[in-house]
Symmetry: C2
Subunit: 145 residues, 2 copies
Amino acid sequence: MLNEKFDRYSFILDQTAKKVKQFAQSSFAEKGFDITVDQWTVLKALYETDQLSQKELAKRCGKDQPTLTRIVDILLKKNLAERITDETDRRSLYLHLTEEGKLKVASLTPIVTEIRMKAWENLADEDFEAFTRILNTIYNNLNIE
Amino acid sequence: MLNEKFDRYSFILDQTAKKVKQFAQSSFAEKGFDITVDQWTVLKALYETDQLSQKELAKRCGKDQPTLTRIVDILLKKNLAERITDETDRRSLYLHLTEEGKLKVASLTPIVTEIRMKAWENLADEDFEAFTRILNTIYNNLNIE
DNA sequence: TAAATATATTTGTTGTACTAAATATTTGTA
DNA sequence: TACAAATATTTAGTACAACAAATATATTTA
């Protein structure tokens, strides 16, 4: 049956995503970063745009709100970010990085890029185009709301 | 900087893998399958090759042993699989599906294939080739042991 | 203005991932 | 044979993902 060969793509996709995360995480540990990959995603988003609400931050990080709440809780404990109540809408909490948080992102960014690049050895620019196009297509095919 | 554009691939990869899993999971729920996607992965592997040790099963499913142990615990509770001590090596446990487990896999398989195929709308066979080649390359680039 | 509805966040629960450590058993070697 | 090393599995602890329900506050509407 023609469709059979498509049946295992989800396995390859899942394993590769897991490996990418795992590689980054063990590199972080090895270099003594003392944050998880998911915490890094949140820190980076806040560094790029400070003063985001949790809702907006969750969206940019591709995480749901309960998950983000818990990650932010940890960042607060580590003194990397702060929660500030929005006085115009007291339901909202705005987040921004502490000085320590900003320094951390600034100093780690180049090293993270280096870690991330390792995945692309033996691959060409056209592969990158195909990669993003195919994954975005799959995402959109399944993103029915 | 040339490398900048490669910096966000991990996000796309992660989001897409998550979406594929989430789509399958919500389809499972909608159709009343009463198992998780990860439980399905294990059931399918056991269906294809019965009588696997937990170690071998974990490897085939791309899961670590503690995670597999817990998934198997759940499958036992659901009467879908059984653990049998290997009398030639009493450290090992062999697993196999119950009749109920086999029936479940047999009846769900075509529906799962259908669910999985939805991701490939608007994509060509060449895309599938590129997809597997690129993801496998990335996996191998990072798979340093 | 009071009640209904909507929005932002948090809490609770279940399941999975990873690490380290514990347990039981087997194998290799002195 | 006895002891050390290796192997298979489980347990414990922390982190993250998804969902549902709870809480607090805003907005809409009757």
